[in-house]
Subunit: 333 residues, 2 copies
């Protein structure tokens, strides 16, 4: 979005019209410079980057406002899971064309989310592509020096916590694709809409970031499926885990679809795009995290326990039997 | 490149194989976390982002090692022009396929440049795309608080300086496309190769960054054409300029092509991809900048003077006549 990156005046006017209003931070220099400045005030800067591609991470038919929100929120979700407070972001937008009907709602929604999450646009680049559109965002957070919550700190005896509900976004994608969930919910348009909204517009849990920073021993966001992401966290920490599947929080719609055998719980555990926070904490700290969530109006559920060992985390049903998970994650490749 | 961004194990192994060796900074956590940490030590963090798209900013036939170098160097060039020292970068790679024959030289060259310019990989994201490949990099630099060199500080009486030579990259692209330069240099393979190298692999002027920081009143890198970029700098500073075209530094190959009327000087002034530093400074400071360049083995040429006024900068030939520039910049749109 900097003038230097801009390729001549066509892009300059695009930037001025759509994106300059989003560059509210003084370090963005109103997008008229080559670069932005992030003043650190002695904090560490947490950096995360996530790109979404049309036809891969979102559907060509998705409304532009939801694409903008998803692009920013998947990055905000990473900041939340690291315990960092949003500080700003840069945007790379690869466009086939510069249609006002697409860019106007895209930029407006991006600006609304930037304000809501106190994460202003600092700069960026718009490029022309003959292929699918792509939105790449690098987001920055601030955290006191050395306090970023990593993946390596989970210890045996820690409780495993997850925010919100799991599997709704995967069901929302299934609804959009006309799959089994769409048919089973044919007479429940509100339920379908809610699931689709979870797929299109993640709800990043930045409200929990201070509690994650203060209480979690390890944390990450759930983006590729709870099962696969827990496997990654345990591998990074050199531990194993035992999860009570009955404790995994489900929305009413998801629970009903599982009860009716429309979808198996294992599909939800491996479904992508949840963008909830998965974290571990010793019992007293876990209680503090749950209480902090409650104070903020966010459900935080205890779903299991970290145990010693190197084996893959086990997911146990109500009878204590291990679930056979043939797939751990959703893969876009 | 973080595990969180990685979409399941296919991407995890790609990251481990190709990119983990590049993540030498402790803040990159070996690419096993959701995010990286940039410790600021009280400095400002300069942020710049530039994407290059296959078929738009580079040719599908360009060797992968040169694509990697160009992607990083266009960002390093921005840091140099801001007076900042490289601190690291994050990479977003949109790939059609994951071919070892392409990724191995890409990652190796990126690693070489990361070491050469002391700019380690901090994290990133690889995504699958059915369209053209795209390499998007966000780079970070450090600079003492409040010292980033902007575009707004040029004042009447300042001299206008530019590093290296102008127009070679535009001629290199012409050679690759079999244009007039290719024909005129049919019997000079070395000259053709040198011009193509300037197009494919920019030479960012990071060696001059400390002098830019200490002496320049305004600066930017020349990426879209010297003429158009000077227009932008003057507009941001609220000044005009007078440039002696005969003082614009040309390579021997470019000068020869101009002398033979193969290409007009105005084409070189509007050609893109130079990635030289354009800056302004009061005369004594300009002398210091030129001396700093000389000490570092980098030519810094004085090409004109900033003057008061709002009119477009004038480009004067040897007779003091104004050149009519019909085009100021190269546009990818």
């Amino acid at each position: 979005m900097t003038q230097d990156n801009s390729r001549a005046s066509a892009e300059d006017s695009l930037i001025a019209r759509y994106f300059k209003p989003l560059a509210t931070d003084p370090g963005a220099f109103g997008l008229v410079d080559d670069a932005a400045v992030l003043s650190s005030s002695g904090d560490d800067i947490v950096v995360t980057t996530d790109a979404i591609v049309e036809g891969v991470h979102y559907l060509a038919s998705d409304p532009p406002d939801t694409i903008a929100r998803k692009a920013l929120r998947v990055n905000l979700s990473d900041l939340a899971a690291k315990g960092a407070m949003p500080a700003g972001f840069v945007l790379t937008l690869a466009l086939r064309s510069k249609e006002d009907a697409w860019l106007r709602p895209f930029a407006d929604a991006l600006g609304e989310d930037a304000r809501e999450f106190a994460c202003p646009l600092l700069g960026g680049d718009t490029v022309s592509t003959p292929g699918p559109q792509m939105v790449s965002i690098t987001a920055f957070g601030r955290i006191p020096q050395g306090r970023m919550v990593g993946r390596t700190g989970a210890r045996p005896g820690d409780r495993i916590l997850v925010t919100g509900t799991i599997g709704d976004a995967a069901l929302g994608l299934d609804v959009l694709k006309g799959g089994a969930a769409a048919m089973a919910l044919a007479s429940s348009p509100a339920a379908k809409e809610a699931l689709v909204a979870r797929y299109r517009v993640p709800q990043p849990r930045n409200v929990l970031a201070p509690a994650v920073r203060d209480h979690a021993s390890a944390a990450m966001d759930v983006s590729d499926g709870l099962a696969g992401d827990l496997v990654k966290l345990c591998a990074a920490s050199g531990v194993s885990a035992s999860v009570e599947v009955a404790s995994v929080p489900l929305s009413a719609a998801a629970a009903s679809l599982v009860a009716r055998n429309v979808v198996g719980i294992e599909t939800l555990l491996a479904g992508g795009d949840d963008y909830e926070v998965l974290c571990t904490a010793p019992p007293a700290q876990a209680d503090a995290l749950i209480a902090a969530g409650r104070a903020a109006g966010l459900a935080v559920a205890a779903i299991g326990t970290i145990v010693a060992g190197k084996e893959r985390p086990r997911f146990l049903d109500g009878q204590g039997q291990e679930l056979a998970l043939t797939r751990l994650s959703y893969s876009h490749f």
